[in-house]
């Protein structure tokens, strides 16, 4: 099978490519850019005129709900949503039911993704058994089963000795530790940012210190153990400053932010909008600007979706009783394009933060258009306007605060290993 994608603006930041040219695919692999290789006759030609041809997006954090919570989403339903969003690689955290703390569950997740065939799914293994924070997992076995890192998902490891041992053991097996930075005691029963809005609404708050205390403790253990750490979804400017300093000191740390933390703040909670119930919570305007600056400065190297599909009932309760999270795969690219429009990043920089940079954090070969690479490709029209509505959402979860937002930039085609898995009709 030979495919030519022609007339598109091919942007591959990893190889510093940004020009209108053709891209050639043979048997699911990229074989040439620019001129056709000798003897190439396309079976299929895709016209990408006025569109951008980018590596397929790599999402560092998407909850697919399978196994265990299929009423919220399945690997098939959510990877199909990913394809609509131009995402070809998804990293899923281990907080499924059962938890990904054994090779069997890790293999099941990948097998189901392969069967569905819409996107590649790479799991994170649990850092501690059952995520209980008491005993470390068989990380060697998890790695052999395809886990690209280890994480305790949303559950902070309260015992710093266990955290230290887990980090040492992960480092032994060259696994990155993904940390959701939250001090459980300080966050308590909080559900929103502890600030002016939460105080007014009488909603229990999660102070910024819940994040900075956990970041500081983790960084101290990075110095001690030399383990590689990635902070998922940093939410505050102050936490980012700490990570920035550690990076400057040469510590092996990276971090990402979610797309929604770049667009929403605590103000969006007014009226008890449960669609804005997320964890870590939406913080202040100052924090949002800090995160945006962090991306521009290169401190934050990836933007993730933190996709969390829910059934409608999960959001139909008084605010504190609702479940946190946003169904976010289909808005990842347009929300990232929006910060390009806001002048924070250039398009190639934005693509970097959604492709080869997250792929590097996962240590996988993805997110580039290098010759010989698997042809995972996202073609999008950066100028097309569209409105997000519940009916057209592919994800089983329609829980998003961005409903009825006008989006700019829409995926027109997604290829996974050279096969079209989504096409705009």
């Amino acid at each position: 099978m030979k495919i030519e994608i022609k007339n598109g603006r091919v942007i591959d930041p990893a190889n510093e490519i940004d020009s209108v040219q053709s891209l050639f695919i043979t048997d699911g692999k990229i074989v040439a850019l620019g001129n056709a290789p000798p003897g190439f006759t396309a079976n299929d030609t895709i016209d990408a005129k006025r569109q951008i041809v980018s590596p397929g997006l790599v999402d560092l954090r998407a909850h697919l709900r399978e196994p265990g919570e299929e009423h919220k989403g399945t690997i098939a339903s959510e990877t199909r949503a990913a394809a609509r969003g131009g995402i070809t690689t998804l990293c899923c955290p281990p907080n499924t039911h059962p938890i990904i703390d054994t090779p069997a569950v890790a293999e099941l997740v990948q097998r189901h993704a392969e069967t569905a065939g819409f996107a590649r799914v790479v799991p994170l293994g649990a850092l501690t058994q059952k995520l209980e924070g008491c005993a470390i997992t068989e990380m060697h076995a998890l790695k052999k089963a395809g886990c690209v890192g280890v994480s305790n998902a949303m559950k902070p490891v309260g015992n710093t000795l266990i955290l230290r041992r887990a980090m040492e053991y992960a480092a032994t097996h060259d696994l990155t530790v993904f940390i959701h930075a939250e001090d459980a005691a300080l966050s308590g029963d909080g559900c929103v940012h502890e600030g002016a809005v939460g105080s007014r609404l009488g909603l229990p708050g999660i102070p910024i210190a819940a994040e900075t205390v956990a970041v500081a403790a983790t960084l101290a253990l990075v110095e001690e153990t030399g383990a590689r750490v990635h902070f998922s979804m940093v939410s505050s400017k102050r936490a980012l400053q700490k990570i920035s300093r550690a990076k400057f000191d040469g510590q092996p740390v990276t971090c990402d932010v979610s797309a929604h933390h770049l667009h929403l703040t605590e103000i969006d909670l007014l009226g008890f909008n449960s669609q804005c119930h997320v964890r870590p919570p939406l913080r202040t305007q100052r924090d949002m600007e800090g995160l945006r600056k962090g991306i521009a400065d290169g401190i934050v190297t990836a933007i993730c979706s933190d996709h969390q599909p829910h059934e409608a009932d999960a959001k139909l309760a008084p605010f504190g009783a609702t479940e946190p999270g946003i169904s976010a795969l289909e808005t990842l690219l347009p929300l990232a394009l929006r910060i390009v429009d806001d002048g924070v990043l250039s398009i190639p920089q934005m693509i970097s933060s959604l492709t080869h940079q997250p792929a590097a954090i996962l240590g996988i070969e993805a997110g580039t258009l290098s010759i010989g690479q698997r042809a995972d490709i996202c073609i999008f029209d950066p100028e097309r306007y569209w409105t997000l509505d519940g009916y057209s959402m592919v994800s089983r979860g329609h829980n998003t605060p961005f409903l009825n937002w006008e989006m700019k930039g829409e995926v027109t085609r997604t290829l996974l290993g050279g096969k079209t898995v989504y096409e705009y009709k």
Partner: protein, 329 residues
Amino acid sequence: MKKKNRLQLDDNGKLKHFLTIEGLNRQMLIDILDTAESFTSVTEQNIKKVPLLRGKTIVNLFFEASTRTRTTFELAAKRLSADVLNINIQASATTKGETLLDMLRNLEAMHCDMFVVRHADSGAAHFIAQHAAPHISVINAGDGQHAHPTQAMLDMFTIRREKGEFHKLNVAIVGDIRHSRVARSQIHALSMLGVEDIRIIAPRTLIPTEPDAFGVHVYHDLREGLRDVDVVIMLRLQKERMSGGSLPSEHEYFQLYGLTEEKLALAKPDVTVMHPGPINRGVEIDSEVADGPRSVILRQVSHGIAVRMAVMSMAMQSHLATSTGDVRR
């Protein structure tokens, strides 16, 4: 903010639900106080009933224990000639399968007209108002740490009766402001009615985050904060704050923030002492003060009935107006 406004008011700007003081203008608050004033005569006459809400069914939906608030709501509804249904639900019951929304649908199916809601979650009354059928009025009888607007209005009613004008007053609120829905609603009501000097007095563990957003002056010293105040509102100290690490002991709290005759002497001579009840004698207030001549604590309770009658009748009138409109159409 705008959305909140719309939720509470109908298209003609009349009160439809009563969820929070925020978003209501001064005239609306004064209307509530004036209407309540007209009802005080009802509560004092021999036959304590007016037929305003005859044939209407009001459901007291209490997900959190309460005696005083529930009984005054019940009395208020009965004096308006409404039928009253009391439902007490332990918060855990709804988590055992039936959702809050299921319960609402069931009550709606029984043709109820008004829900008076108390719930441990902030925003619960908003949630119910958003999802209730359009003919139903929702009155917030306290949601989590967010709002308790009828309590605040009965306090405003009491202050107006005792003091007259609002704008000249210095008002101090003392105690656990951080966790208090009563204090939040009081602060919004006081500032909307024109009180310029609103003080909150407590140790930092009981002061809300970013108090500046409320437009209040913060004091940590009771003596300093009481200087020249016209009204002092003491808040009930919940026992769980003691064990939660917010305070070291009842003893030290009483020493520093308990209202005694001696400390009260720093306030204006005609100071009014208020408390939403139930009081902890010897914790936040000395018995001598609570039972003393400047205390209006019991008067607050009886005013509660008139204010709740006012709010219920106003909210129901908005619905009567819309439903007759529907018929004509």
